[in-house]
């Protein structure tokens, strides 16, 4: 059973699902966050667009390789949440 997600990770997961639902023209509830991206029909162009969407929304940089390392919405959201948390922490330390 999954432990509870932190709010940021949950929000990122939701954003990914909604964005892919729009791009893939499928209802969000049919998009399994634990399915590999290829199984969802996310090809390399779509994965690039997804990363760009997250980059712009969260104001962080995401190299394209992370799609290979974190090949599901759940894994990607977890990683991106971590990235953002450390960015924010860095910012606070600098500030």
């Amino acid at each position: 059973m999954e432990s509870e997600l932190d709010p940021m990770e949950s929000e990122i997961r939701g954003r990914c699902t909604d964005y892919l639902a729009k791009l893939l023209n499928r209802p969000a509830k049919l998009i399994d966050p634990h399915a590999k991206f290829a199984r969802l029909g996310v090809d390399s162009a779509t994965s690039v667009f997804l990363l760009m969407e997250l980059e712009e929304w969260l104001a962080i940089e995401l190299p394209t390789e992370i799609i290979f390392e974190y090949p599901t919405i759940a894994q990607l959201a977890q990683h991106v949440a971590r990235c953002r948390a450390s960015e924010t922490a860095r910012g606070r330390r600098r500030g």
């Binding site: 290829a38 199984r39 090809d43 390399s44 162009a45 760009m52 394209t64 290979f68």
Partner: protein, 580 residues
């Protein structure tokens, strides 16, 4: 009124081969930068001057001739960057035939790459140390008798330092292009030195380029438009070519525009979808201080052009100095080396509003009702030295102006044929017009019409190819991938096709018959997801709709071949029997 471009008669050298051309450039302008590659942030990496290029290519040519001989084929598997350019010209100097190839995707079965290997029997594949390290699966997978890998960085100094490279003649094959042809029936277009030089001259005249015309491109070097219209054209002109990786463009489309601004580029080419992507990703803060006024030729080719794309791009970037008259539609295909028709420099595209209903019947007429109108964009006029004819596919008779038929081409840019495929070469490259005697024509498989002024409008296709983001995909390859997923998916009982959505997007639809015996055991959702995964892994495209149907539900010919067009029609009408 748009300034008319008048081609100036300039004294031209008369190189008889690409090797001549390269030597000429290295002698005439040794220190001029020939190629520059930009990183994903738009930073310049070590540039190549014409002399550098010649020196490195010559050294590598020696290494090639240590291993293979003139006329042998060499696969070139390179990531984006300038190493490809060096390797390509090394082949040219050695008289070895280069076969540019996309590096197979990690998760693919590599059937397509293997098909090319089997078709042209290369003796060698050249790649970089980076590829060998990060993709040992590729090296391992492509092994054959009398075949070896040459890692660029390890190519030791040739045993023949002053390799005397025998001269190539115009008729010699300079390049094998495998951009047409499916996995099951690969087609290597044989492009001669003469073809390349002639099409380059035709392009020069049509575009009005000079040595000062800088080009910026992200189109892959294994795509004919990337290679011939950019890499080879700038060499032909003695101009600078600025290259970027395709993924750099896809991730940050505005970096392409920024590079056009930075290098004061005159020419930048892309398929239609790329112009839409720039509009989608437009952010004013990223466009600050960008001036696109040097951009005189926004060549749009490789897939059908859309009027709304041109309008949106024009209006979005006009405030940054982009002149809508720079939009330059073009049409071509690998079998004609590259370019067949092109617009008039500085005049912008020619559009025509026709009746959609009449066009579906192959006739060009004015719309009778407002909602019947469809805007078509002209692809330009035939290039100097070339003829384009519209032919009825069945009778092979020449059709008159404003009638839709198959586009046929003749001219010095028509390639020599398909590698070791006499049958396909004869039917594609040696067609004759009924009642017009012995001249041979190239059948393009595209449909279109010529208007009164000689402008070509491409309206459709007879050949079975799907074009997504400027790349060709073959329905039979996609269907085969689907059928390989599970034994329940009946062999030769599938159809892949596209339909055009309202917003101009091509939607890929896959319809597949499922064996009765398995139907109770399979979770349909799982099967559909597996199919989706296989299509992405093998072809890098998403099947937007996957429909599993009852056996026998697909319309077939008497010989059992699936009728794709009819399937599309029945599907659009909602009449296909879904598997329960």
């Amino acid at each position: 009124m748009a300034e008319r471009y008048e081609p100036k008669a300039t004294p031209r050298e008369h190189p008889i081969s690409l090797a001549d051309l390269l030597r000429h450039r290295a002698t005439e302008q040794p220190h001029d930068r020939a190629y520059v590659f930009l990183s994903d942030r738009g930073n310049e990496q070590a540039p190549l001057t014409f002399a550098d290029l010649y020196r490195r290519a010559h050294a590598l040519a020696g290494s090639l001739l240590d291993r293979v001989k003139r006329g042998d084929r060499a696969l070139l598997l390179f990531p984006p960057g300038l190493d490809f350019v060096v390797a390509f010209f090394a082949c040219v100097l050695a008289g070895v035939i280069p076969v540019p190839m996309m590096i197979p995707r990690r998760a693919s079965s590599r059937d397509a790459a293997n098909a090319i290997l089997a078709d042209c029997s290369p003796r060698l594949a050249v790649t970089t140390r980076g590829v060998a390290t990060t993709r040992p699966d590729v090296i391992e997978r492509f092994q054959a008798v009398e075949f070896e890998w040459l890692i660029l960085e390890q190519a030791t100094q040739t045993t023949k330092p002053n390799v005397c490279v025998a001269a190539s003649k115009r008729g010699d094959i300079a390049l094998l292009q495998y951009t047409s042809g499916s996995t099951s029936e690969p087609r290597g277009v044989m492009v001669s030195h003469g073809n390349l030089l002639d099409n380059s001259e035709m392009i020069r005249l049509a575009l009005g380029n000079t040595r000062a015309s800088t080009f910026v491109s992200w189109v892959p070097h294994y795509h004919d438009m990337g290679l011939i219209l950019n890499i080879l054209q700038t060499l032909y002109l003695g101009a600078l070519c600025v290259l970027m990786a395709p993924v750099t463009f896809m991730q940050r489309p505005l970096t392409w525009l920024r590079a056009i601004h930075t290098y004061r580029a005159e020419v930048a080419t892309a398929p239609n979808f790329a112009f839409d992507l720039c509009v989608l990703r437009f952010r004013a803060e990223q466009m600050r201080d960008i001036d696109l006024s040097s951009w005189k030729l926004a060549l749009n080719g490789a897939e059908p052009l859309r009027a709304d794309t041109l309008d949106r791009f024009g209006s979005t970037f006009a405030p940054y100095g982009f002149n809508a008259n720079s939009m330059y539609p073009a049409y071509g295909l690998a079998e004609a080396t590259l370019l067949v028709t092109g617009g008039h420099r500085g005049s912008g595209p020619i559009t025509r509003r026709v009746s959609r209903a009449e066009l579906q019947k192959g006739r060009v007429a004015a719309p009778t009702r407002p909602d019947d109108g469809q805007v078509l964009i002209g692809c330009g006029q035939p290039l100097v030295g070339e003829h384009v004819a519209i032919i009825a596919p069945d009778s092979r008779r020449r059709l008159e102006v404003d009638s839709v038929g198959e586009v046929w081409v003749s001219g010095p840019n028509v390639a020599q044929g398909y590698w070791q495929n006499a049958g396909a070469t004869a039917s594609t490259f040696r067609a004759q017009i009924e009642g017009e005697g012995g001249k041979y024509w190239l059948r393009t498989g595209d449909l279109g019409f010529l208007d009164q002024s000689g402008e070509l409008f491409v309206t459709g296709r007879i050949k079975d190819v799907i074009i997504i983001r400027g790349m060709n995909h073959y329905p039979q390859d996609i269907e085969n991938t689907v059928q390989n997923v599970h034994p329940a998916l009946r062999r030769n009982c599938g159809a892949a096709f596209t339909t055009l959505e309202e917003n101009g997007r091509e939607k890929l639809v896959v319809i597949q018959e499922v064996e009765r015996t398995y139907r109770s055991e399979i979770a349909v959702a799982e099967l559909v997801a597996s199919i989706r995964e296989a299509v992405v892994n093998e072809h890098e495209v998403n099947a937007d709709e996957i429909l599993l149907i009852a056996p026998g539900a697909l319309p077939k010919t008497t010989s059992g071949k699936v009728q794709r067009n009819l399937t599309r029609t029945i599907w659009l009408d909602g009449l296909l029997e879904v598997a329960k």
